[in-house]
Subunit: 235 residues, 2 copies
């Protein structure tokens, strides 16, 4: 299906859900920091549910560009209040860094390593640089560069997030491929001229996930793992 396209020079990865299992990792750290009476998965899900609304304030121009670490911390304080939990400030700040310590899916490190042999590999995530860098050091993710919302000051799925990243790389959009477990991210990237690769992560949201269970259209590639993507791309 890709014979008519030039090979992508850069593979740009969504991270939360695509490369790392944020839900299990956050819930585990919540369980360690909060009283055992708190449902750690419910807490993680509620925290994550405030992610899009927080970024929407920035995307809509009602708030200047603000790093995800700051948005996460504000959301965490909201959720702690909702769950009626009080923690020492030091614990709150450390728990916010749970997002810097997310574990990769089992295929992520090997798959990205394979792809790195023939392509630029970098995150194109809404996470800020230090979050993604700490995560990479912890998890062994072998990125060539740390890209994403912070260097371009635009949150996905705004077109600037994709187009400015291609521009930074000195590449045409068609020389870039977005890799994501979310059909909406791929749709926005394709609208900007990117190639697209879907990686199914049917348990990102837990056992009752109903969205993004499979590719919803003819993405350039549709796969079940990053290793499978690497093999399909001849790496």
């Amino acid at each position: 299906m890709t014979t008519q396209l030039p090979a992508a020079k850069a593979l740009l990865f969504d991270v939360f859900g695509t490369v790392v299992d944020w839900r299990t990792s956050v819930a585990s750290q919540v369980a360690a920091a909060l009283p055992s009476t708190v449902d750690s998965y419910a807490f993680a899900d509620r925290w994550r549910s405030l992610y899009q609304p927080a970024m929407e304030l920035v995307r809509s121009g009602r708030r200047e560009f603000t790093r995800l670490d700051v948005l996460h911390l504000e959301s965490l304080r909201t959720v702690l209040a909702e769950f009626e939990v009080t923690l020492p400030e030091e614990t709150v700040v450390d728990l916010n860094r749970a997002w810097h310590r997310l574990d990769p899916w089992p295929d992520s490190v090997d798959g990205i390593t394979l792809l790195k042999s023939a392509h630029i590999v970098a995150p194109l995530s809404n996470g800020n640089i230090s979050l993604l860098l700490d995560m990479a050091k912890n998890a062994g993710l072998p990125w060539d560069a740390i890209l994403g919302a912070e260097p371009v000051r635009a949150y996905k799925p705004m077109p600037d997030a994709y187009l400015r990243t291609a521009d930074i790389l000195g590449l045409a959009p068609g020389e870039c491929m977005m890799v994501a477990a979310h059909n909406s991210d791929l749709a926005a990237a394709r609208d900007c001229g990117f190639q697209t690769a879907f990686v199914a992560r049917p348990s990102e949201h837990g056992p009752r996930q109903t969205t993004d269970l499979s590719a919803e259209t003819d993405w350039t590639y549709s796969t079940d793992s990053i290793i499978e993507l690497a093999k399909k791309m001849g790496c």
Copy 2:
């Protein structure tokens, strides 16, 4: 000499001259692209001599932030005219990318690899992201992230170049160490609160180099190679 300081979490490297031997690499590519009547080292030196004046327009605010690739291309056209050489546009554009293909000094890859085991390692260069990324892919430089002038939109030695980089990393300036072969770069970094490491590169400018032959003050570390720096830091 460093026992009173906390260990630096991030080592941030000057690149041109400190990590790579720009003069030999550029001269070699000039020799391949230009008529043999041109003195390729004189051409490389003249091209490099326009580097600081071009950035000074940006630093002084007379020109908006402009990527080094663009400044390099403008300077290249000036030098080609001075040397009375006419080249096809495609050759000019490719020769400008000589700066993406610079060879490292013999100790750079091994030294940075050693330091990476215990520290964040990244360039803090005036080179733009795609220049530094292509160079890293070509030379095998194992950076954790590609930082420098472009993400912070400020050229060294402006304080913003150092301070915004520390901010991006979520680190205090004192948790960052600038590694450079140029005393002036280290002085500017120290003024911002960075730790400092001098790496002597006495042939950066060729056999008749007169500047930066040695450390001019009590930098945190003073060494003759990046491997020596890694050993002094216990890596």
